[in-house]
């Protein structure tokens, strides 16, 4: 599904304060996989995501999605941006924000509206359809962004810290929602998170990135018995073990750098 070879990216190339965000990063994601990426703040995770989405042209290396070199944005892709509040369109109601991408999907107006409604409901925002983004709290805005991506039913979904602004309960619900949707619609998901527990809980695999310039320092398969459950899974000894393992990888590197 996704094949990244020897990726590197330099910001402000040429200038004296050029910044090497990514260097020699290799990664591949199988179709239907849910890959979690963790790594220190500022290491280059968002940069990686943007490169996959074709939003920036990396200065080196290759990214292939379903065998095709990424030049433009690949088809059937959805992204939940880290800066979710800025990615919503302030002149559209919440429902319109969610429904907008569906115009690409050969859906009539009614179908779009229904899909938007359903997606909003699934993230706990039923009733907020007609509000405007500025009338929502931070966490609600973030959920709108998630709903927009979910309603789109992409084959590849990129999520950049999608649950950072919601409370613990909602967060768990959203984690389960993502798992459920993934199961139903066979999406491939790349999810960036800072929550190590979360990465192990939702991920089929957890990749740990190093400090900038980012490269892969750990790649753990999460082999937990499914279906996952907020209580039993988190109590599972493998979960506890993996969590510690990821933690060590993150910390180890954070400390060393």
């Amino acid at each position: 599904m996704l094949e990244i070879t020897n990726l590197s990216h330099v910001y402000g190339g040429g200038s004296p304060n050029a910044h090497h965000a990514i260097e020699g990063l290799n990664l591949s994601v199988a179709a239907g996989e849910l890959l979690c990426i963790v790594g220190p703040s500022g290491c280059g995770k968002s940069t990686l995501l943007r490169s996959i989405a074709g939003l920036i042209t990396p200065t080196g290396g290759q990214i292939k999605v379903e065998g095709d070199l990424v030049r433009q944005t690949p088809d059937n892709l959805a992204v939940v941006f880290q800066d979710y509040s800025r990615s919503l369109f302030p002149w559209m109601s919440v429902a319109d924000n969610v429904a907008l991408p569906l115009r690409r999907k050969n859906m009539d107006k009614k179908a779009r509206r229904e899909a938007a409604h359903e997606a909003l409901e699934s993230v706990g925002l039923a009733g907020a359809e007609r509000k405007y983004p500025f009338q929502l709290s931070g966490g609600m805005q973030q959920r709108v962004a998630i709903a927009r991506a979910l309603a789109y039913r992409p084959s590849l979904m990129l999520m950049d810290e999608p649950f950072g602004s919601v409370d613990a309960q909602t967060r768990e619900d959203l984690e389960d929602l993502v798992l459920k949707v993934r199961g139903h619609h066979r999406m491939t998901i790349v999810l960036i998170t800072h929550d190590i527990d979360e990465s192990v809980y939702v991920g089929d695999r957890v990749v740990v990135l190093s400090k900038a310039p980012a490269h892969v320092v750990g790649d753990l398969k999460v082999d937990l018995p499914g279906p996952r459950d907020q209580i039993t899974t988190r109590e599972h000894p493998d979960f506890v073990h993996l969590r510690a393992e990821v933690g060590r990888l993150v910390r180890g590197h954070a400390a060393a750098a």
Binding site: Y11, G13, G14, L55, T57, Q72, D83
Partner: protein, 289 residues
């Protein structure tokens, strides 16, 4: 407009282009050479169009001489000290007028844009005064302050004021309220918020207003000179050329060309200055943020 104008660093050029690529055209970033050749092509096409219109007689060549003739006359005009004196006078009136307009309009825009009650109270008066054309104003202003440079400058200021004023007012509206709240929360008063947040944040748009005003001021300078028809100034030069029988259209249009070119140069300089001063703005727009 001057969006992705030339700038020193190639890296930035590519960023700018990428914005465009994202928005509409799916063009690949192109180099500086291509960009300049496009500009040249645009200019050449324009010149060729004028030449063609005239040479084919589609437009009476006596009224619209061929572009090459105009250009040739334009070149010889430069070495004419009388013309240079005209040009200098016009530039002076333009610069004074534009400068005064900016000095008045920006603070006024800040005031009207940030204190709604003053805006509301003054709106009827402002909007009433605004559409009075300078033709009607000339005799009245002339009576009050006399003719000469002060009359021209007044009219230039009066016209050039508005773009800056409105762009300042509208620019203030676009300021992120959270940025204002941030400063407010540190105990800064409204004035500080205005000067430290609203002003810099809307500066790029005010600058666009200023570029508009620069053009308006130029037009007004020359136009009032044409109307006044006395003293010095490119407009006077144009007016006098029109008094001849038959009118010296080549002279008129050569003068117009110099005005246009001056406008182009001023705009380019302002765009360059803008790019330096508001690098944060353009860089953020260029590079996916």
């Amino acid at each position: 407009m001057a969006g992705q104008a030339d700038r020193g660093q190639d890296a930035h050029v590519t960023h700018d282009l990428r914005v465009s690529a994202q928005t509409l055209a799916r063009a690949r970033p192109v180099g500086t050479a291509t960009r300049w050749s496009r500009r040249a092509a645009g200019a050449v096409a324009f010149v060729a169009l004028i030449e063609l219109l005239s040479r084919t007689g589609l437009v009476d060549p006596e009224s619209l001489p061929p572009a090459t003739e105009i250009a040739a006359r334009g070149v010889t005009l430069v070495s004419d000290p009388a013309f240079r004196a005209h040009a200098l006078t016009s530039m002076l009136a333009w610069a004074i007028g534009l400068g005064l307009a900016a000095l008045i309009a920006v603070p006024l825009g800040l005031l009207l844009g940030s204190v709604p009650i003053i805006d509301a109270a003054s709106r009827s008066v402002v909007e009433f005064l605004r559409p009075i054309p300078s033709v009607a104003l000339i005799p009245l202003v002339a009576l009050l302050i006399g003719t000469g440079l002060q009359l021209r400058v007044t009219l230039v200021v009066y016209a050039a004021l508005w773009p800056i004023l409105y762009n300042t007012m509208y620019g203030l509206r676009g300021v992120d309220p959270l940025a204002k709240e941030s400063l407010r929360s540190y105990g800064f008063g409204p004035l500080s918020v205005l000067l430290r947040v609203s002003l810099p944040s809307s500066a790029p748009f005010i600058m666009t207003g200023f570029r508009l005003a620069a053009g308006v001021a130029l037009i007004l300078t020359v136009s009032t000179e044409i109307v006044a028809g006395q003293g010095e100034g490119i407009g006077v030069f144009i007016y006098l050329a029109g008094l001849a029988v038959p009118a010296r259209m080549t002279d008129i249009l050569a003068g117009v060309c110099w005005v246009g070119l001056f406008g182009v140069v001023v705009n380019a300089l302002l765009v360059a200055a803008e790019r330096r001063a508001f690098r944060w703005h353009h860089a953020r727009l260029g590079e996916p943020g």
